[in-house]
Amino acid sequence: MLLPWEYGVRNLARRPLRTMLTLAALSTVILLVFVVVGFIRGLEKSLSISGDRDVVLVYSVNSEENIENSAIAARTPALLAASVEGTQQRFGVTHVSPEMYLGTRVNTDENNGGLGLVRGVTTGAPLVRRSVKLIDGKWPSSGEVIVGQLAAAKLGYDKQDLAIGKQVVFENKTWEIVGQFAAGGAACESEIWCNLADLQTATKRQDLTVVALLLEPGSSTAEIELFCKERTDLELRALGETDYYQSLQQHYKPVRILAWLVVLLVSGAGVFAGLNMMYGAVAGRVREIATLQAIGYRRRAILLSIVQEGVLLAAAASLIAGAIALVLMNGLAIRFTMGAFTLRIDSVAVLFGCGIGLLLGVLGALPPAIKALRAKVAVSLKAV
């Protein structure tokens, strides 16, 4: 038989100040867990939805994993279109997107020095980059740009500074913002897109960074890969977009491991906060616990009651932390080297945060409870 529920609840109110302090400490810890898990989830999500399975990226074989370093000949798209089958075609238009991609300083009237990601594109881009949707304004013509939803976050600027009608300066040229686009959380949401020819003029370059091709459903990358291998003079390599982002995920593995480590360490600190309080709480109750045993309560029932106390407190802390995380942190934009993404306090993050919270309660309460129950009842009954 268990002890009445009220016993655990009211015990928490016995030392209100200490309970409140522990509640604050546990809430902070769990909030941190939420943030870190939300960070990991956001990062993973941004990378995992960034890839389109039907899109193949063709870029320089010398650029290693980093597409930004790639430089390929301007005639590559024409060559590809002529030599490779399997690229999607509709109304006589081949779905190919030649692109120039670079990281550069992007200034506005109000801000300076933010490192932005700029992509010069043609009208082929929206055909291949199917997740991109113009949510406001129009497609850019010469001297104009459209900005991704997270571009401001990536730059560390106010969102208003990249509003339609404002101007940005990069590569010694002033551009007018004429539109805004979303990409369902994909990496390119933190980019600024402009006309490819404009960007080539501004940078005094003729080359491209990457060519993206949309395959017909059912065709594979094999043919394109073969083409790249045969034409060694072009120094090209082809990679499915999903594979590309998968390799990026790999690349960010240390970051994720570090983040999990933070979760672990922070949780460890939380266990100590719980332990500290529960040891204190139980130490002052030695005789009471012995009395309960003398009345006929089994040790397991008393143990459960003490654990229930810890769990109750941790659950309250989880609730507070969860509410703060959902209201204040969810969707918060995070700047990151490869772009920006939003904190995702999704069901997994919530489950994880609350799970850690409950674990804190149990781990914090168990050792003091076990210690108290190990003592001999006859001896504890005499304790002061």
Binding site: E6, Q293, I295, G296, K376, A378
Partner: protein, 232 residues
Amino acid sequence: MALVELRGVSKSFTKGEETITPLDEVDLDIQAGEFVSLMGPSGTGKSTLLNLISGIDRPDRGTISVDGVEVTGLSRSKLADWRAANLGYIFQTHNLIPVLTTYENVELPTLLLKLSKSQRRQRVELALEAVGLTDRANHYPRQLSGGQEQRVGIARAIVAHPKVVVADEPTGSLDAQTSEQIQTLLQRLNRELDITLLMVTHDRDVAGIASRKLVLDQGKFVDSETAITMGV
């Protein structure tokens, strides 16, 4: 057969080099309905004896049975269950749970029994009535006087209708007047509710209310006349 039977019960404690034997081959019979008082110099093992009978502690040798159940042979969790149904313990310092009200404190032992809600309620109300605290049911221990707290402790000890109630200096920390109230109460419980009582006390007057007086000294029971001449 007696309600409580101790046969050859020994218990010793070792403290470093020294071994103390508070109980040395003790035999004792307590009949149902008896009110037994237990006196003896401090440190002779009176509390130890109560703890052995209530299964809180175990003897080194010998057997203890209560109402035919050999307590000394039960496992720890079985002992807990047995205590819940068969034994009431009145402490010197009432040992009430501070976060529970009078009613809830008295209710605690009944939660361990197979009773319906209304049966439980009835038991608690009867116990509170027996100790005259019906009007204090919703008070917390800190809102009660020392004597009232002890009465709650007594109600808690009898609420499960135990076969035996042991009391370790129940009046030990009360003033003379309150002590007298408690004595009267214990006597009434024994006479009117037929509760079998074993009570440890240092006060000869308190011991006087019992139907039988025992004195423990040097690990053995001595009869009370000898004890008086010894000046215990």
